[in-house]
Symmetry: C2
Subunit: 148 residues, 2 copies
């Protein structure tokens, strides 16, 4: 197969595989037992990982509009998982950071959220395949964050 075809085929396979796994994860998740959505917990994780930030910065990093990110952040804030304070240096900004409650939650909930995926992976994959996925995740992150 030619290199250009290889890339095109991989791009197509990757997007459809992602869509299927995403749908399967939704099908396997039990919304009743968890008050927070996938997106909300992902953003909580990113705030914890990268430290205090602003809605606009988060929106840029995740490639969504400020308004969309503000919605997600508002839920986390209403539930007391994150807090917001005006930036003393630039009063347009509101700096958001994780609270004790948010930090405590992040150590217990994500495990439950990915329970089905982790269990299925453990059942289905050998350690080499697991490593392939981990490297793939790193490559995908690199692609997603690439500046043109």
């Amino acid at each position: 197969m030619e290199a250009r075809d290889q890339v095109a085929k991989t791009a197509a396979e990757l997007t459809s595989a992602m869509a299927r796994l995403r749908a399967r994860l939704r099908a396997e998740s039990e919304p009743r037992v968890m008050p927070w959505t996938w997106s909300q917990l992902t953003i909580l994780g990113r705030i914890i990982e990268n430290g205090p930030t602003t809605v606009s910065d988060l929106a840029r990093a995740e490639h969504v509009r400020r308004q969309s990110m503000a919605e997600t952040v508002a839920v986390l804030r209403a539930d007391g998982l994150i807090g917001a304070e005006p930036d003393p240096d630039d009063r347009r900004k509101a700096v958001i950071s994780v609270t004790e409650k948010g930090l405590a939650l992040s150590t217990t909930i994500p495990a439950a959220r990915e329970k089905w995926l982790a269990a299925t992976m453990a059942e289905l994959l050998d350690s080499r395949e697991c490593e392939v996925l981990l490297e793939a995740a790193s490559i995908v992150n690199r692609i997603a964050q690439h500046k043109d």
Copy 2:
């Protein structure tokens, strides 16, 4: 790292990487020039790839409800990309299949849809990394379709 931690970490990295790439693809797509959505074209592709089928079968394969899939299929049908006929053997079923128009479209549009992704991959990745992604896609498909 212990094997169980390895799996949990990979599951977490994979889901967040997928979410980021998905968001980036949405940000890079230009909806103005294309009247069909991502999901609709994905389903069209699957119908072409796997041949004539029913709404319920498609819904099972993609892990969504019949009603959700019916919505997607209805748009494709209204635009003449697919057709539907009652199954003579089982009159509950409606067999859907691709039309000439749908087939013609599928050879031109998907390339445009994944244009940014393919171009970025070609720029960023060497051939080994490309192969890692292709294998990862195959593994992800296996996980998504695994029966418990």
